[in-house]
Symmetry: C2
Subunit: 451 residues, 2 copies
């Protein structure tokens, strides 16, 4: 048979893995510096845990696991005869694959509420699966790296997440803009134009602003009931503003007296105060056009985009006030951020930002001319490994050029050649495959040399 | 709804994750020292990649993914009406979850044969899924950590894998015995007793030896055609022997002139020679009773058990000569070892070997009496994080005992208390929650103090 991959999934070979690990490790290190602790949840969840959490569209994108054994025997006969796939699913499938890391987190918190230390700061870096149509930047198996704080209302948590994002992308060398909004302010804007009842439609239109100009959307806003002067005013709201107290005063002034606007602006200014204490961050922008579908967000909304490159958001998050409610634990507020590893990878590759990631940690390869040399090398390699040095011995008896070729392809910088002369003199020949420098080195100095 | 986990799967909370990461990191560090490079493959494989690779029993244990969309529409009507689950599966499911890491490796190598640098030394640490009945040490989602060398016949590779196992378990503090066998010698023994044709049955009986005594199995061996004196001689073969040239000579002597025995013993002695060059390892035993079902092994067979504890094997592997053949790439020899993380975890927990694993990397928590203190702390925390120090600020305005309780539960060793006096004097109060030591420290010395 000619093997193939499942559509929308990928193998990650050694070179790609080294780069992916660089991203994962960078994010994990920063998460830990802020006191987040690791959590992992199973790939499979009960289907009833997942369904109804991501909208109708999301339900369709869930990968479902066929029940084991004689699954058809347990299916209702009438539905079976109808061959109605949508009704049959729950009869032959009880489990589904994780669609994101947020619902599993909510389930975990609800199930372990008595053991968890609140505020619960957890990070989670695992793959998720969606039966989406694959395209550029969109895969059926992809990785999320999430950090959430559950059980604290403090806006300091929002500030922490913004600092984390800034530090992660600084370490990765990716220039970014962080867009910041608050659902309460969006609601206040809808109130001002007296279209509270059409809030969802309003948001859906705003969400398009990123792809088309404001002009194009005017007819849609007008259809919702906005006048021409409303639209003019709205355009002002939706223009990005610097993250400053001045901007916040301006918004508050324009929405003066409108329900929720004060609370929304207070939340923004709380975040600003914390960020100011860290020296500030000039790549944060207030962006009232940022909606992120709003799903479950109730306060802060965050979205991060890479500069200098056309790609959707590479990170995003926000505050949700009732995440665990559906699992029987109401009134717990949380805020989180999610890094999309696969898109970050694509961005970094396009910007050529992996030049500092080593192809291998192996410091040298020991080459030999015959079995005698290989035995000598084997003992030597094991001594060096005891010192913590990564090293390889070519396993087969092959000509030197073959051995060098292996080292070169794997990106091993140094080869050491052991022949009878080298064994008797204790002076080993080395060659740096990058600088082409050659020389001799005593067996006992080798450890220090390679370190 | 009251949420629950899928049977046989587990959440790994922060405390467990810290310990699991300790195991993963230890293994990964050792793999890298020997020049193995990371590979990751998708959770989902084409069902045809997986079926037929693990025997009939294995096929039943595969988790299958229901096709997306109107899966029933594409199913054959006649089979649909029969409700015969086993025949229906391939009509409504095209994908399955990874059952181990070996078949995905074979698929990867076959698909990427032209890009791979051989010998291909890869490690892979990912979960696998089996619809098995859950019990002690057996889960439906569990992790394998595999290292394999593909495309080299050298027995040096076997020696490397044995050294890796020895080093991993030494680092983890787990006392082990490594059992070593070679399929060729088992075949020679079957030849000697003239039961080559019943080799599979022979192996199935031998495989039971671990659970019952030899006496119990005599009737089964006799049923295969062994005489009483054959059985007596067989018992001698199946007694564990020290890993030494003497043992190997002894085996060779007893199997003198029998097909394959010489090759099998030569492979053992080659491994011994390499291991001897590393100073030897006295926890390796020759164990001709080791069969491991034999599945695809053609030469070396390795199995590792923890001393002082009743648990199945915690690691195992061997050489297979035709792994990629089924995917259209014949004649490639490989050898590998697999670490069963979940069992290793259970063993370490039972032996109380996690005492050195820190509950958190956070060095200190900054506590406050009011908003003023929290702002001060927030700026201070971000300075310390710039020095690479993991630190937390309690996010909410709460009484000190609440803040201390949080630090204690999370295992944060030091709390620092910031009040107005501390801010004005620049001298911060600290308390070590473990030693109960208290004192004052200058703001500028704090970084050094915490490092």
């Amino acid at each position: 048979m000619k093997p193939s991959l499942v559509k929308g999934t990928r193998d990650f070979g050694p070179a790609v893995m080294q780069r992916r690990k660089h991203i994962f490790n960078t994010i994990e290190t920063v998460f830990k510096k802020y006191g987040f602790m690791p959590l992992e949840t199973p790939a499979m969840e009960q289907l009833e845990t997942l369904t109804g959490k991501y909208g109708d569209e999301g339900d369709k994108l869930l990968f479902k696991i066929l029940n084991s054994g004689d699954f058809a025997a347990n299916a209702n006969d009438e539905i079976w005869q109808s061959k109605a796939s949508n009704k049959l699913t729950s009869h032959i499938s009880e489990k589904g694959l994780r669609y994101d890391l947020t619902v599993p987190l909510a389930r975990y918190v609800a199930m372990n509420r008595n053991e968890i230390t609140f505020p619960f700061k957890r990070y989670q870096m695992q793959p998720v699966w969606r039966a989406d149509r694959p395209q550029r930047g969109r895969y059926r198996e992809f990785w999320q790296c999430d950090a959430d704080i559950i059980g604290s209302d403090s806006l300091m948590n929002e500030a922490d997440l913004l600092c984390i994002a800034a530090e992660v992308f600084e370490k990765l060398g990716v220039g970014i803009s962080i867009h910041l909004n608050n659902r309460k302010i969006l609601e206040a804007i809808a109130s001002k134009f007296e279209i509270e009842a059409k809030f969802n439609q309003f948001v859906i239109i705003i969400d398009k602003l990123d792809k088309v100009g404001f002009e194009t959307l005017i007819p849609e806003f007008e259809a919702l009931g906005l006048s021409q002067s409303n639209c003019f005013e709205l355009e002002g709201f939706l223009t990005k503003m610097p993250f400053s107290m001045n901007s916040i005063y301006l918004i508050q002034d324009k929405l003066n007296g409108i329900d929720k606007s004060e609370k929304g602006c207070l939340e923004l200014s709380d975040i600003f105060n914390f960020i100011e204490h860290t020296g500030g961050s000039n790549f944060i922008k207030i962006d009232l056009s940022l909606a992120r579908g709003l799903e479950y967000y109730t306060g802060t909304i965050i979205e991060i985009k890479a500069n200098d490159i056309k790609m959707g958001s590479i990170s995003g998050g926000g505050r949700y006030d009732n995440l665990t409610g559906v699992f029987g634990l109401p009134g717990v507020s949380g805020v989180g951020i999610s890094f999309g590893i696969d898109r970050i990878y694509d961005v970094m590759e396009e910007l050529n930002l992996f030049t500092n990631v080593a192809q291998t940690e192996v410091k040298a390869m020991l080459c030999h001319l015959d079995e005698n040399g290989r035995n000598f090398n084997y003992a030597l390699a094991n001594e060096l490994r005891k010192e913590g040095i990564s090293i390889e011995v070519f396993p087969d008896i092959k000509k030197l050029p073959k051995q060098f070729e292996y080292a070169e392809k794997k990106g091993i910088p140094i080869v050491i050649i052991t022949g009878d002369d080298e064994i008797s003199s204790g002076k080993l020949s080395y060659k740096n495959l990058i600088t082409k420098e050659q020389g001799k080195i005593g067996r006992n100095e080798l450890g220090g040399f390679l370190k």
